[in-house]
């Protein structure tokens, strides 16, 4: 009953549609940037004569990987924060939550169903980002083998050459892996939403806090802090794009993210169960 209601409300809110629209816009801009960059680097504009970048390097799979990388780290966490803020703080501010609680249903149950809706939405959006980026890469650039060079997006320490089928399998595995990585910012946003007074505050605080943590994890100055930040493991799914996948590393980073997620969710549930709904 709660689940049906929540999914119905999600559909009527058109938030997933808006998110898909934003993803398509992002991918369009990425495609434009990819074209112009590839032309500069492989044409007469290259100022460095000796380079690994050539026309076969810039193919549809490289585009998909670049787009997926930035989408997962910078775009999808914003949608996750929006969903959490709307589902919890938004419902609380509008009085919907109080209305739901007039029925004989536990708060934990409401929380868990809302979490299910958020998780499903996140997994759906990760899948959409992956499907759209691969499709656009195929239509506008064309697939091929995937070459990853050391240093580029910190994808690999050694040159990796993946055949097209190996790369597509890696993309497929990246779907659940990236969904797990999105679970951490989602849970973080859920925790903030249980404390916020309304949806706008919750989304604003979540997005800003995520960006601060992301920047801290990226900047070399703060490398000692990295083990304590969930944002430093967010792109762990890159490990899947290897000739020989280091599964130990994949599981370690995945477990780190799941650990943070469970911790945030436990704290969020505690707060959700015990706070006053006025």
């Amino acid at each position: 009953m709660i689940a049906r209601l929540e999914f119905l409300r999600l559909r009527r809110s058109r938030r997933p549609l808006l998110a898909i629209g934003a993803l398509l816009f992002f991918l369009g801009m990425m495609l434009l940037g990819f074209y112009t960059y590839a032309q500069t680097e492989t044409g007469g504009g290259a100022s460095f004569r000796y380079t690994f970048e050539n026309s076969s390097y810039f193919n549809g799979l490289t585009f998909s990987l670049y787009a997926f990388y930035f989408g997962c780290l910078l775009i999808l966490p914003i949608f996750a924060a929006t969903e959490a803020g709307t589902q919890l703080a938004g419902d609380s501010a509008s009085g919907r939550l109080r209305l739901m609680l007039t029925r004989p249903v536990s708060r934990s149950r409401i929380f868990l169903w809302k979490l299910c809706v958020m998780l499903s939405t996140s997994a759906f959006l990760v899948g959409c980002l992956l499907a759209f980026s691969l499709s656009l890469g195929l239509i506008f650039v064309g697939w091929g083998d995937l070459d990853l060079y050391p240093g580029v997006l910190q994808m690999s320490a050694r040159h990796q050459h993946l055949t097209q089928s190996q790369a597509l399998l890696a993309f497929l595995l990246a779907w659940p892996a990236a969904t797990i990585s999105l679970l951490a910012p989602l849970s973080f946003s859920v925790l903030i939403a249980t404390w916020a007074k309304n949806g706008v505050n919750a989304v604003g605080i979540s997005v800003s806090a995520y960006l601060v943590l992301y920047v801290l994890a990226e900047i070399h100055f703060f490398k000692e802090l990295r083990p304590w930040l969930f944002t430093s493991s967010m792109s762990y799914w890159r490990e899947l794009f290897r000739e020989e996948v280091n599964w130990g590393e994949v599981f370690e980073q995945g477990a780190r993210l799941l650990g943070f997620s469970c911790l945030f969710l436990a704290l969020a549930l505690r707060r959700f169960r015990t706070r006053e709904e006025l």
């Binding site: 460095f48 004569r49 994890a217 943070f260």
Partner: protein, 282 residues
């Protein structure tokens, strides 16, 4: 409003799951950067050292100082290497003095001073013969014939410290030069390449040239193996500037990394050392 039962159990389960995940992460062995510690080696193992002997900015960036010579000799004698690639010597006379102190088994070949401070290749045992290197390449190439008759083309290189484009030109042209040489034997290229990269880590704020140097590194590393990859920084404060490259499949790398704590106070580079075994000789 009163909370309804079931919640504390779920919270406890979530906390337990979090604890299990973190325990799993903590139990995984944390791999520290590899460093080199000199140990006895078998006769067929080739020990290679590259070392920029100059002083850092704090000491006015000069070549090997007279007072540091004793330290350098002590380190090289402790390592007992077969091949040494040195950068930032001060003069030909200094190299001669260094060779004399190392002992009669040592051979040396030095670049002319057309590319800034001289660099040199030294070999213990075997023989060295100089190879013609194009004027515009900041490198010095020699052919080393070991006591067992093995032939290795050795190149010491010192790329520009201040221009990513100059580094690209030096290493790109060196790569083309080596590719064009159709000779038998193996290849060793070592030196201070001044490529400050964060290959599989987050970006370093030290240099704006990083993404440009990536182009150079990836171009140069094609068909070669970066022996010091995964080892820690080779120069202060926290930079990996020194490299040893071998032809892919030509050697097995037994151990490689900077030997820390050996540089004299004013020097800014650690010696980078590698133990290599030529493939097919075990």
């Amino acid at each position: 409003m009163k909370s309804v039962g079931g919640g504390p159990g779920i919270e406890l389960l979530l906390l337990l799951a979090a604890a299990l995940c973190f325990c799993f992460v903590a139990a995984r062995r944390v791999s520290a950067p590899l460093t080199f510690e000199p140990v006895a080696r078998e006769a067929d193992v080739l020990r290679v050292v590259t070392w920029n002997l100059g002083t850092g900015v704090d000491a006015g960036t000069q070549g090997l100082r007279r007072e540091d010579m004793k330290r350098v000799v002590a380190v090289l004698m402790a390592l007992e290497p077969d091949l040494v690639f040195l950068q930032e010597l001060s003069s030909k006379g200094q190299l001669d003095r260094l060779r004399e102190r190392l002992g009669p088994d040592w051979q040396a070949s030095m670049s002319d001073s057309g590319h800034g401070r001289p660099m040199a290749v030294l070999a213990c045992g075997g023989s060295l013969s100089e190879l013609p290197t194009p004027e515009f390449i900041r490198a010095h190439a020699v052919e080393y014939r070991g006591s067992a008759g093995e032939l290795i083309t050795c190149v010491v290189v010192h790329a520009d410290a201040f221009s990513a484009q100059a580094r690209n030109q030096t290493l790109g042209e060196l790569s083309s030069y080596l590719d064009s040489r159709v000779v038998g034997g193996r290849t060793l290229i070592a030196g201070d390449m001044n490529l400050d990269l964060s290959i599989d880590q987050r970006g370093d704020l030290f240099s704006d040239d990083e993404y440009l140097d990536l182009e150079t590194y990836n171009y140069f590393a094609r068909g070669r193996m970066d022996v010091g990859l995964g080892a820690g920084s080779t120069a202060k404060p926290d930079r990996r500037l020194d490299y040893i490259f071998i032809g892919a499949g030509e050697f097995d790398v037994l151990m490689a990394g900077p030997w820390l704590g050996q540089r004299a106070a004013e020097m800014d580079h650690h010696p980078l050392v590698a133990d290599l075994r030529a493939t097919g000789t075990e």
